[in-house]
């Protein structure tokens, strides 16, 4: 009797430690939000865009999905999962995507937006729960990225400007793929820090001024222009 209990205990301890030791190092992504040279601060700080328009930011969030790490020989590791990065939620900007790849990644690719299958297949949970406020209930589909704030240049009520970008249907597809070069080497436990510069929303592919267009609330041409712009906002800054 006693013997069998001892054996059970030994087995239990062995299986627990074994699992812990077998765990692979984890790959983390860390998103850092900047406005030009400044770090983004919600609500209080006023920034100036390329068209000399002052603005504050109340909300800044976006979906990241289909993450792929690649080495120079095109060996790839794909990470499923859709992540909502929200400036207002510290822990949404730093998250694990899975195990570190067994090669030195030279490129990271990801999609800004949500796969079309999730836009149509009923109500989803987790980061895709419509409770997150990133879902259009009257014209179904996810808001892929949201930049909202106030600006004296805006002609909308209370000087708001609201850029809610989405659209998964072919003609108005606002998902954008991003590919960034990683110039350092990832060893064992890795955190990749990616910087996002909000100023690109206003000037990159197309010039977008708050004075001219202060609202985007549906898929379409303007949403796609905003998407083209913000697809350029990311860069890899550092490796640890």
């Amino acid at each position: 009797m006693k013997q069998s209990i001892v054996w059970i205990l030994v087995f239990g301890v062995w299986s627990l430690t074994g699992r812990a030791m077998a765990q692979e190092p984890i790959m983390y992504l860390h998103f850092e939000h900047r406005v030009g040279k400044d770090t983004l601060e919600l609500m209080n700080k006023t920034y100036i865009n390329a068209h000399n328009e002052p603005f504050t930011v109340n909300k800044f969030k976006y979906y990241i999905s289909n993450i792929v790490l690649r080495d120079s020989m095109n060996k790839a590791e794909a990470y499923p999962g859709t992540y909502l990065v929200d400036e207002a939620d510290k822990w949404s900007k730093f998250f694990a995507i899975g195990e570190l790849p067994h090669f030195n990644p030279r490129f990271i690719e990801f999609t800004i937006g949500v796969d079309s299958i999730y836009n149509v297949g009923g109500v989803h949970t987790g980061s895709l729960d419509p409770i997150k406020g990133m879902f259009w209930t009257w014209n179904n589909g996810y808001v892929f990225a949201k930049l909202e704030g106030q600006s004296d240049s805006s002609h909308a009520a209370a000087n708001y400007f609201m850029y809610d970008v989405g659209g998964y249907k072919q003609r108005h597809n606002a998902t954008r793929k991003v590919k960034l070069e990683i110039s350092h080497t990832l060893i064992h436990s890795g955190t990749l820090t990616i910087k996002a510069d909000l100023l690109k929303w206003f000037q990159a592919v197309t010039n977008i001024s708050i004075g001219q267009s202060s609202l985007c609330h549906e898929p379409g041409k303007f949403a796609m222009q905003l998407a083209d712009n913000y697809a350029t906002m990311f860069s890899v800054t550092e490796m640890k």
Partner: protein, 351 residues
């Protein structure tokens, strides 16, 4: 060793017993597919209908707390005696004395419908409740607050647990429960259905009306659903206050300007007023529109380019036929009445 055996036997017994209590499985409900109808398009595998889920859905459907000031439930605008449309209202009443911009559609046979709303903007039945819940001129509430309200109510915790296995309350479960309730709203027992099943016969005006219907109406109002679910411009001119261009708002394609979904005509006699904005007060207004008042524009349906000629005689017979689409057993089915009632009580009538 005896002690060991006894202990393990007892352990087995406890585990087995506990499993029985904790995992008392929800009772499956059979979804009725009427004879001769196509298979439903709703994916029942992802959301099987159970007694517990159905009852939870019914409670949610009739719960006014889902709105911002606890004044409007789903049932406020979807009343059973009006085939779950709003009785006698062109537009429905929303939060804070607001009005909706469209006539509330009847709810029936939803398992056969792929997309929803007069403009088809909603792609899945489970997503549909989110629109009225959050629209400022309907229930005016946020999803976050609704889920918080439900979490603060022990009876909901008990019911979610019974329906889905644990106490988690989230958007998905809430909406799946509502879907389970509204999916069961199958209307297939009107006089028309009984005649088709050879259990009844039309009287002369009804039969003549059916013949006219088959010649002039079925290309859009296709049997047995009495809609082909398409979006068409039937010559209703733009209403200048509402400025509602219908399907074009969703597709942003100017060819879809002023197109709205062909509504089902099942229970049509009890769902007045008619039209996407409820501009037609009675069936005779609708017939008058088709034969005379229609505005033919560039996107008007090709079948209606010359309007729809109808004689007074034909209108009379058609009206007689349309009345055979009323399914009283559906309008009075106690299964769909508020929890604890056999028939919708008068307090639901106030919207």
């Amino acid at each position: 060793m005896k002690v060991f055996k006894a202990i393990s036997a007892l352990l087995c017994f406890i585990i087995f017993g506990a499993a029985f209590i904790v995992v008392s499985k929800p009772k499956k409900l059979k979804f009725p597919v009427p004879k001769g109808w196509a298979q439903p398009v709703y994916d029942f595998k992802s959301n099987p209908i159970t007694q517990e889920g159905f009852e939870l859905g019914r409670k949610l459907f009739y719960d006014e707390r889902l709105s911002k000031d606890s004044s409007i439930s789903c049932a406020g605008c979807h009343q059973q005696f009006a085939a779950f449309s709003t009785y006698d209202h062109n537009l429905s009443h929303g939060f804070n004395n607001s009005l909706t911009t469209r006539n509330a559609p009847s709810l029936q046979n939803l398992a056969w419908q792929k997309d929803f709303m007069a403009d088809g903007g909603i792609m899945h039945l489970d997503l549909q409740p989110l629109a009225p819940m959050t629209a400022s001129n309907e229930m005016g509430e946020t999803i976050e607050t609704i889920v918080r309200k439900l979490n603060g109510d022990t009876s909901y915790k008990r019911m979610f647990s019974a329906a889905f296995g644990d106490v988690t309350i989230n958007t998905q479960r809430m909406n799946r429960a509502i879907s389970q309730f509204v999916l069961m709203m199958v209307s297939s027992n009107s006089k028309y259905d009984r005649v088709m099943r050879k259990q009844d016969t039309f009287n002369l005006p009804q039969q003549l009306g059916y013949d006219i219907f088959k010649r002039k109406c079925t290309s859009c109002h296709k049997e047995p659903m009495f809609t082909d679910y398409s979006f068409r411009n039937n010559g209703m001119a733009l209403e200048k206050t509402l400025n509602d261009y219908g399907r074009m708002k969703i597709t942003q394609d100017k060819n879809d300007s002023l197109k709205f979904r062909v509504p089902s005509l099942r229970n049509v006699a009890v769902t007045a007023p008619y039209g996407h904005d409820g501009r037609f007060f009675s069936l005779s207004n609708v017939f008058e529109h088709y034969r005379d008042k229609m505005v033919v524009g560039p996107t008007t349906d090709s079948l209606l380019k010359k309007k729809l000629p109808l004689s007074n005689f034909e209108i009379g017979q058609l009206t007689a036929f349309l009345q055979t689409l009323t399914d009283t057993s559906f309008l009075k089915n106690p299964l769909f009445a508020p929890p604890g009632y056999n028939i919708t009580p008068s307090f639901i009538h106030n919207h």
